[in-house]
């Protein structure tokens, strides 16, 4: 075997090469990371990218933020991961939204998981629920729709992008409850995401869509749809100035959909504070304001402990609501 001496040398080269490479990779400081607890392309992906692109443009981080995906359990897999595996990673944030708070309240993250199991970091924006109909719908305002629904709940076909117990359903159920209609008596159809529900509205398969305000801007601009009510505290500005809130029409329903982040439970106060400050600073930059607007979000300034308390209260409220609408005992 004349070649037998060459091969060990190859081996040596390969092994050292591998070791060097592994070293080189590791020698770099770990880049900040954002986990989107869903598949690529969804709302959580965009929430991560909002932070990643914003922080980078504002030069608040040295290295580009990595976005990774951890789909499963409508966010429960990532929640588990943060409370169990990477519970003290100072460079890791996870995207969350009102939906996560709702799932926590409904025990969908597992009964053992509570809101205090992670450190809620802050929100970079908020959208609001909206009651949407086609341009040729018979109802001119929310009151007319609600009267029709009160008379015969099954005469109005409502559709949205979520199952019973989801955010979209909660909007419909709360509207019904505001007028003393039993949410169980509604005629409600759940679709796979808001896009499909919107298509069903345009195709006249459903009559009312409980969607999100800013997401509907393109269809609103084109005049295909009308928004009967915004589920916000007060009227939004700009292109939405003409849309009355549900509250001012006599139905006390609000549904903010915040987009924010949480960190592991054992992250040091120092790291947590640093991230909260970073987001707060980002929130005020001009470049970020543009980015947020493009993403269709309204400002929401809650960071650090402020935000943690906010989420905590929201989860408690949701637990109460879930009982009231008959979702849990």
């Amino acid at each position: 075997m004349p070649n037998s001496r060459i091969i060990p040398r190859w081996l040596v080269a390969v092994v050292t090469g591998g070791a060097l490479l592994a070293g080189a990779v590791q020698a770099q400081a770990k880049p900040p990371e954002c986990i989107a607890p869903a598949k690529p392309g969804g709302g959580y992906d965009l929430t991560c990218r909002l932070a990643a692109n914003g922080l980078q443009e504002a030069k608040l981080i040295d290295e580009p933020m990595m976005v990774s995906y951890m789909p499963g359990g409508i966010g429960a897999v990532a929640y588990n991961h943060l409370t169990g595996v990477r519970d003290d990673d100072p460079n890791l944030i996870v995207a969350a939204s009102t939906g996560a708070a709702l799932n926590l309240a409904l025990g969908k993250f597992g009964q053992q998981h509570k809101v205090d199991d992670v450190r809620w970091l802050g929100a970079l924006g908020v959208d609001y629920g909206a009651v949407v109909v086609r341009k040729d719908a018979p109802w001119n305002n929310l009151d007319e729709l609600m009267k029709a629904m009160k008379k015969d709940p099954s005469s109005v076909v409502i559709g949205a992008g979520g199952t019973i117990g989801s955010q979209d359903w909660m909007k419909a159920a709360l509207m019904a409850k505001a007028d003393d209609v039993d949410p169980r008596k509604l005629r409600y159809v759940s679709f796979e995401g808001g896009g499909e529900a919107l298509a069903a509205l345009l195709g006249e398969h459903i009559q009312v869509f409980t969607g999100d305000l800013a997401e509907l801007k393109p269809q609103l601009d084109s005049g295909e749809i009308r928004i009967l009510a915004a589920l916000s505290e007060e009227r939004m500005g700009g292109p939405y100035a003409d849309i009355p809130t549900a509250k001012e029409q006599g139905y006390d329903v609000e549904w903010p959909i915040w987009r924010g982040y949480y960190m592991g439970p054992n992250v040091s106060d120092e790291a947590y504070q640093q991230w909260a400050d970073r987001l707060r600073e980002l929130n005020d930059t001009d470049s970020f304001k543009k980015l947020r607007e493009g993403r269709g979000l309204f400002p929401m300034s809650k960071f650090g402990d402020d935000f943690h308390q906010y989420v905590k209260k929201q989860v408690a409220d949701f637990e109460q609501l879930a009982k009231e609408v008959g979702l849990t005992q």
């Binding site: 359990g73 019973i164 919107l198 195709g203 980015l291």
Partner: protein, 501 residues
Amino acid sequence: MFDFLIQGFGVALTPLNLGLAFLGALLGTLFGALPGIGPINGIAILMPLAYTLGLPAESALILLAGIYTGSEYGGRMSSILLNVPGDAGAVMTTLDGHPLAKKGLAGPALGLSAVSSFIGATVAIVGLTLFAPLLAVVAVKFGPAEFFALMIFAFASMSAMMGKDPLKTLIGAVLGVLISTVGVDSGTGVLRFTFDMPELYDGIDFVVMIIGLFAVSEILLMLEHAFRHDQDGEMAPVGRVMVKLSEVMFCKWAILRSSVIGFVIGVLPGTGASVASAVAYTTEKRISDRDNTFGTGDMRGLAAPEAANNASAAGSFVPMLTLGIPGSGTTAILLGALMLYNINPGPMMFREQPVVVGGLIASLYIGNVMLLLLNLPLAGVFARVLQVPRWILVPSVAILAFVGVYQLHSDLMAIYLMLVIGVFGYLLRKFGFSLAPVVLGFVLGGLMEENLRRALSISGGDVAILFQSGLSIGLWIAAALVVLVPMFAGKLKAKFLPAGK
């Protein structure tokens, strides 16, 4: 009227955008060729890059759309060469593609699929250019009742695949549908068959399913063949590399029919390349498989799903560009990319963003030509994968399977699940099942149940809603014909031609 397109070609033909289209095509082919990576991940990976480089919106979109269409081309490679589908749209390609490779026709098979992909995509892009706004109006008419009828039609055309063992085809399909019921029930939010494992709440991921079912079971089967030194595992030596014109002409009707089917299904929001290629394959088998050669390496059985999955990829741009509604998982992430650029795709986009829309459509034309030119010569190179010795090939398949699933889930449970499904797939194959009905049951079954229940919640339980529109009635009739005509035709044939053929 077509100002936006002329403007678009002006945009797409700048050197930067041409280069990006080429880069997208190349990377897309690569991403698609690696099982499990696929277009969604490809775009997710490159989206931040496009943003970081500061590319303008239309350039970023050209790059990302190139990856999308490119990966539909690439997805077929591992289907044909390894019997492992690269992505959702490539499952049906394994049925005749891999037998062709076994016959030593890997090169021509890859070439033919490139040509079919090209034609399918071109038909669809022309359709997109000419009819997009019109089609969008029709697409939304497709409601839950119509989708249910479409799924009935798809299952009915599956009867064409019954082949030699109808019983096991049926059992396979039922098992597939059963697997699709795992996870949060989309109607009531109730957890079904999740056994308190949050990893199962969202259902079993399609990629985990096909990688497990095909790739892992293939590793075990290859081990058996290697151990027994039997014929089954043997590949004929790679012969000719180029596809012949006569072979393409042989498939021309299959390609054209499937292009139209693929485009139409692609336009419907909520169905994608997997449904398109399944319907195209089964329809084509019904129409032209007179000698029962489908499934044994019939060129038409390869051309049909390939034309359809590319056509559907282009078709799914229609609802995205005209309604702002994603037609598939991949257009959903493209939509997200646009939102980062402060562009909201929707009804106004053709008017407000002619440069972006025109540039995108023009780049689809250009990218498609590039993909054909890129993939024809690559066929010869990739066909050589078959000459790689088993002891290198098999670990490579394992690595790809693991990286694909890990990249998608960042979670070990998904990998374990893939392995369990792999053993399941191996057992099925040992029991003489074909995997295609299982996958079809999985894909179609979920859509069927969801849409049936949606339709019934709209009507408040009245079954009449299923037969109310012309579209759904037409689909029901087509479904009946697909099942009845061959039965009837068989009887007639037996009556008048008792001597056999």
